[in-house]
Symmetry: C2
Subunit: 505 residues, 2 copies
């Protein structure tokens, strides 16, 4: 009798979780439509629809029924190995559930409203390059993030709670240590490169590139890398993103620009990296909390791996260069592969995160991480953010303090909350760890890239990362795949070797 | 105390109905995406999402909470006039609620599943032009429609229940009487025209028309008629449709073909007629059962009015012809307005409903109505449908019986259920009634059309039809707008006068 009841428990848990997944995915479809197709008049209707879907999904997931089903399912899977689908389902769902029930519905609603309200304020402040116009909204973001941290609870520092929400198992101290290593290794590297910046001529990137051909080429290339267009599509949007509505429908967007330097190619490869991850999570995990990427950091490891470790590598460039020449003959007829590849890897300290090169990118994130921590701990006042920003930019990038538009107003993230940036840096670190492990398993990888064969790498990522979905924490997953938890050493070694050689340091 | 409780009742009822509307609209967005953008791999995920949204909307709407809120809201609006927003909300919601609770959730699910299953069977049967391949699925459709009718209940005939579901207030006997009048007047007219079919030369319609220019022109024209692109958009799909996600987002689709005869122009005007209706329903009725069109029949009156009463009128053609000539100069340089307008109104009895002219269209619907009734009453066996079809085609259209592909397999509707066709004919009849009333109020309408000014007509429809949303039954609405309930006389007079003159009868 008990056996029957618990057997039903796991299945009934799956049913409820399936409904929650359907509601969340429906919301994702509405979000995609909003970015790509919705007419301007649809804003109010869409906000209502998304609010209802979000609330119903939250109510359903945090219901007492789920608590009971989790208990009965736990008994049912007690003897199964921890890495089994069933035991993982109960473990991860319980972790998500315990976090979700700690956050009062009112706070969830307040955060959603604050984010909606802050968006136009941020747009206006950015347009006028005036931090003071955004300061009040930023104070709300800080206050809500503090309330969120208090609701979630933490052992040492409030920022721990925000990190734990998206990157379970990591702490502020751990991230500080990673950034400490990055800072120690990269700030001197940036200085050294700065003294030899004339060693790379990147003027080719300013040459024109037909935007329709950019799109066609991007589609061809990401299809070739392994993005499955039968289960996806690529559209244009103001900011490129990847979004999934289930294993059968994982979409990407891109944008084009008039020059080779702002071509859609590497941004498409980046989003395809995210998308191939989701396309690689098995259907057996579908419509449960196990479906999807392990964390934002691990997700970013996939996009950065394909964009940088592959897309900015010489073997990939050797393969793609002929295609680029066919697509943009007039801009590339007098350019050789080496010049092009070097231009693509020029290190150029700049104010804008999304334009940053591989070396300086993490410094942008470190700056935001430090400011966020200090805001949350009360060591920095909102009004003083531009000052702290200027200090960081000078120290890390060697640039004079920018205006607010190119400074703390450049990113939309602070209209949502704090704690969302670190995933980008974790992704960079993890991508280097994974690539090192993949090359060690598959020593002929460079030759395969040069021949346009990316399937061994994709298969390796499927096996070591994708197939696990959200079963493991970021550290567990990275340790299973590479033998060590998340660490900075591989990435530091990678940039030193690659850029030391490029700049002849 | 009671006053406070009931005051809360109406507001709480609105809250729940708003949620139901949001769920239904989210499902509509997912449906639109499925037709226009979804990659092939998304079918399974999307089916899960739509099933969940549909079930949650149904559960929420048919909950005991809604029953209680309806009672308390009824007390609250008892002294308000019946046409007030509040009293209408309670009345129409109760009507919808009472129907919804009569249909068991199992039957709803079975109908959804049967429809999904029947679709590929129908595609295959149609491709092979073999009714027998579809017969089993059709029997399921008939059986489920019977069960639906029994669940809903009816006074005289099961078909009454199906009509009442979509066209409240109408009965089988009433529709039979309308079709009786149509048949008596139109079958002889078709015969008479058939004897003089050489009086209209429609060969111009076979001339080529650039498909990109069709689209551009269609967009320009429907924008000019009053379709608001700020609150909508037009895309391509295999079958044109209109769909709305709220007052701020009402979309249309169209298709193009290689010739002037299958240009997207009039199909775009048709869908824009539907869309301008939804764009004209006030926001005060938003997110309630009062938002949207009064019934499929009334909805079709708007699309047919713009497509036929406007789009195929001589004054409209006089205005649009110059634009057509600019768009398709080589196909129209040797054609005059009168030749073009006459060609557009050629009466050509044919097998395919969607290609039918204004005169024969209702005969196609009548044929389906008669077959559906006989199937539901058990007077006709599914196996005998092609025979009955052939008899009807011969008697009404003067054509020899077609193959199954051009016969009973031409429409997808019987994969959903029975009773969905009559709205098309009701729409034709109502469009003539509304146009007669509009012309009587605005005698200079023809001159305005010729000058390209359609705003007086749109304003008249806004005032007499659109602003009421679903407040009134089809008969109530038509009587308020025209002085009489739904009737066939105006439409019969219209076709006799227009086509008698065109063919010199």
């Amino acid at each position: 009798m008990t056996a029957v009841a618990t057997a039903g428990g796991l299945q009934r848990l799956r049913d409820v979780l399936g409904e929650v997944a359907d509601l969340e995915r429906a919301a994702a479809v509405l979000g995609w439509d909003q970015e790509t197709n919705m007419p301007p008049g649809g804003v109010e209707d869409r906000a209502n629809q998304l609010a209802t879907l979000g609330r119903l999904a939250h109510e359903r997931f945090t219901s007492s029924e789920v608590a009971e089903l989790l208990d009965s399912a736990a008994a049912e899977v007690a003897t199964l190995p921890a890495e089994s689908d069933e035991a993982s389902l109960v473990r991860v769902t319980r972790r998500d559930f315990e976090k979700a029930v700690k956050v009062p519905a009112d706070l969830v609603a307040e955060m959603a409203r604050a984010s909606t309200t802050a968006r136009p304020v941020w747009l206006e402040a950015r347009a006028r390059s005036q931090w003071s116009l955004f300061a009040e909204a930023m104070q709300v973001t800080v206050d809500l993030s503090r309330r969120l941290a208090e609701a979630l609870g933490y052992e040492e520092r409030p920022y721990d709670a925000l990190i734990g929400l998206t990157e379970p198992g990591l702490t502020t101290a751990r991230v500080e240590s990673l950034f400490g290593q990055i800072k120690g290794a990269v700030v001197p590297l940036v200085r050294a490169i700065d003294g030899h910046s004339d060693r790379i001529d990147y003027s080719v990137l300013s040459r024109p590139a037909d935007e329709q051909r950019q799109l066609e080429l991007s589609r061809e290339i990401i299809g070739h890398l392994g993005y499955d267009f039968e289960r996806g599509r690529q559209d244009l949007s103001a900011h490129p993103f990847c979004i999934s509505f289930g294993p059968g429908d994982v979409r990407v967007t891109t944008r084009t620009g008039p020059t080779l330097g702002d071509s859609s190619l590497l941004s498409s490869v980046h989003e395809a990296g995210h998308a191939m991850y989701e396309q690689g999570v098995p259907r057996s995990l579908d419509r449960t909390p196990l479906w999807g990427g392990a964390s934002p950091g691990v997700h970013e490891s996939q996009s950065r791996l394909w964009e940088n470790m592959v897309g900015r590598s010489r073997p990939f460039c050797a393969w793609v260069f002929r295609r680029l020449r066919d697509a943009f003959p007039r801009s590339l007829e007098d350019v050789d592969l080496n010049t092009f590849w070097r231009a693509l890897n020029a290190v150029r300290p700049s104010y804008i995160r999304v334009d940053a090169d591989e070396v300086t990118y993490n410094l942008h994130i470190m700056l935001r991480f430090e400011i966020e921590k200090d805001l949350l701990d009360g060591r920095l006042a909102v009004a003083d953010v531009p000052g702290a920003w200027g200090t960081g930019v000078r120290e890390y990038l060697g640039l004079k303090p920018p205006g607010d538009r190119e400074g703390p107003l450049q990113d939309i993230h602070w209209t949502f909350g704090l704690g969302t940036f670190i995933g980008y840096s974790l992704g960079n670190l993890i991508s280097a760890q994974l690539m090192t492990a993949a090359v060690s398993d598959l020593p002929e990888l460079d030759a395969r890239f040069e021949a346009g064969d990316f399937s061994p790498l994709l298969a390796w990522l499927r096996e070591h990362v994708h197939r696990h979905g959200r079963k493991f924490t970021p550290d567990e997953l990275v340790e299973r795949a590479t033998g060590s938890p998340i660490a900075a050493g591989q990435w530091i070694g990678y940039v030193h070797e690659k850029f030391g050689a490029l700049y002849g340091l």
